[in-house]
Symmetry: C2
Subunit: 359 residues, 2 copies
């Protein structure tokens, strides 16, 4: 076997370590794009360590660090505060990773790391104001109860936000999903929710919120979740969700190959589009692999951070076709044909391609 063939096989072959992650981190089945709100159990999950089992009666959230008053809050305390309910589309920063070449060895997402929940929580900003930041505070650090080993060191999952991000509307401490308590896998009893950002910012199983006097340099902020070209590149932080559209795969699937089979005639193509930066202004669809494009009809979103539904009509003729979609947002960003490569495989938002057999 020559080296080129071996190299190609290595690129496509998923390792035992990657498979372990794929079997525990759940993807969103793309046919669920039919639904405005993603049912519990179909939303994507990226769980870095183990899901903690939390006793809600004993649980307290501590706000401390560079604050005038340390707060300790129970779940009932948080539920008694003003609440907002909002539909928010969350996406994993690694969505699309296995479509890059060479790919980063991590959770091997194809394109299914997304979901839209109806989240209820209490806004973060008033709580931070109640604790009272001292003058030396520059960021707020969120620590989860989930613990594991990264780069040889045991640690809790931690991410920080700037003070400006903490003030943003929609940033909440969420305690309910789709009208029920948070499921264990989504951060029970309380998680941070940072709409518009990739999911790594929305720290689950909150233990502690700490105002800090220097930018956080922990693993999940300074090493992971950065757009880098090589190991020596400090890179730039991953933050807002890049513009993307996904198609609800038409017709029915072959069990093993997932190849789609559609009857000839009028086919309504459906899907969802979203961006963390601005509302969606256009979705285009192609049925010839991206050679030509036509506009889809785009519906208003349920809120500033929820996906948009789109539909387009296709007169399908017998044969093999490749159906594609691409979205544009109000900031002018459009999906590229091919994702921009980076070392960690983040924010890979190349256009969605669905091979379809029409009979």
């Amino acid at each position: 076997m020559d080296d080129a063939v071996t190299a190609e096989r290595e690129e496509l072959a998923i390792s035992a370590e990657e498979l372990q992650l794929a079997t525990r981190n759940h993807g969103f089945p793309l046919e669920a794009l039919a639904l405005d709100v993603t049912p519990v159990g179909l939303h994507y999950l990226l769980i870095h360590y183990d899901i903690p089992v939390v006793d809600p009666a004993a649980w307290r959230l501590r706000l401390d660090g560079c604050v005038e008053r340390v707060l300790s809050l129970s779940l009932d305390d948080l539920r008694a505060r003003p609440s907002v309910t909002q539909e928010v589309t969350l996406e994993c920063a690694g969505n699309g990773r296995t479509l890059l070449s060479p790919r980063a060895r991590s959770q091997p997402w194809i394109l299914e790391a997304v979901g839209t929940g109806s989240w209820t929580g209490t806004p973060l900003a008033p709580l931070v104001r109640e604790a009272g930041l001292t003058d030396d505070a520059v960021e707020v650090l969120f620590t989860g109860l989930d613990r594991g080993v990264e780069a040889g060191e045991e640690q809790a999952y931690q991410r920080s936000l700037t003070l400006a991000e903490c003030e943003r509307e929609g940033v909440v401490l969420a305690y309910a999903l789709n009208g029920g308590p948070l499921p264990p896998q989504h951060g029970y009893p309380v998680r941070l929710l940072v709409p518009g950002w990739y999911g790594m910012a929305s720290v689950k199983w909150l233990d502690r919120i700490t105002a800090i006097d220097a930018p956080f340099t922990g693993y999940q902020q300074a090493r992971a979740y950065r757009l880098r070209q090589d190991e020596d590149d400090p890179g730039t932080p991953v933050d807002r969700i890049a513009v993307r559209a996904l198609l609800q795969p038409p017709g029915v699937p072959d069990f093993f190959t997932r190849q789609r089979h559609v009857g000839a005639g009028t086919v309504v193509l459906r899907g969802r589009a979203w961006s963390g930066s601005a509302p969606i202004t256009a979705v285009e669809v192609s049925t010839d692999g991206g050679a030509t494009w036509f506009p889809a009809e785009v519906a208003p979103a349920a809120g500033p951070h929820a996906w948009h539904r789109f539909t387009a009509t296709w007169e399908a003729t017998p044969g093999e076709h490749e159906v594609c979609c691409r979205a544009t947002d109000a900031s002018g960003d459009t999906q590229p044909v091919d994702s921009a490569w980076n070392l960690g495989g983040y924010a890979a938002n190349g256009i969605h391609r669905v091979p379809v057999t029409v009979r």
Copy 2:
């Protein structure tokens, strides 16, 4: 590269097709063995085609075929009938598949295709009696609303049961899970539940129940889900869940390798054990890779078809260890060290091995 190395790489390498299945068919994260009942969203899922979107108001279940009276039942009709609620452990027949060598190309489960739901439904047998089987009836066929392509032919998911199985206690038409309506991914609005059998028997999204006058020979009965040694072997049907125990992995994981890290000292090892044939009578644990075994304490199960909790104490000393467990049931079946190989990778119930680093 020599052929032996290439062959080994091919065995370990998961293909793009297998990864597509792994990202949509959710596994049970083994830390959830801590919980008696599996929360919605953590139970394993094996969805052959797409999840159907069903309008419950329009949905009717038809009982027909070799019957004296055709029945057409709404969801309310079924909910108005006598109901039973039972904790039932379900496992996919392909659980353990990727640990076999060579392995079948299908859903690449490692060991996480399990879960225990609290299912509510109405017994099947009285409904079949109400329809009244005619003398020529020999089996009952269950047809789901989910459609896809297998071996080149579009079809609905279908499985049959013998008349004796239909009469068995615990076999119900289930419409609730953990106290709520069935989630879409578990068969909303109504599914068959066949306790003790691997999951393929519990047909989801029921459309039709048909008494038939000859054994069913469709794809999911005569070709898939059979224990075969080669392509020419007709094999024997997969049915009851083989005896198995799984450990809740101790300590904390490394994110990428999932290697477990545990502090030295007393460690309580916990897990669950089950069998589709008989109650669990013993679980043994090893902390030296299976060289020596000691008994675990086994708790009673919540019902005849629910898993048993087990615990054992380990004085962990610094170094590398392999913790294992194996179960025995009242029929005398014990888990083998290595699973018995078969072409489809079914019923692979070799002992669970968990590498652990103690510091």
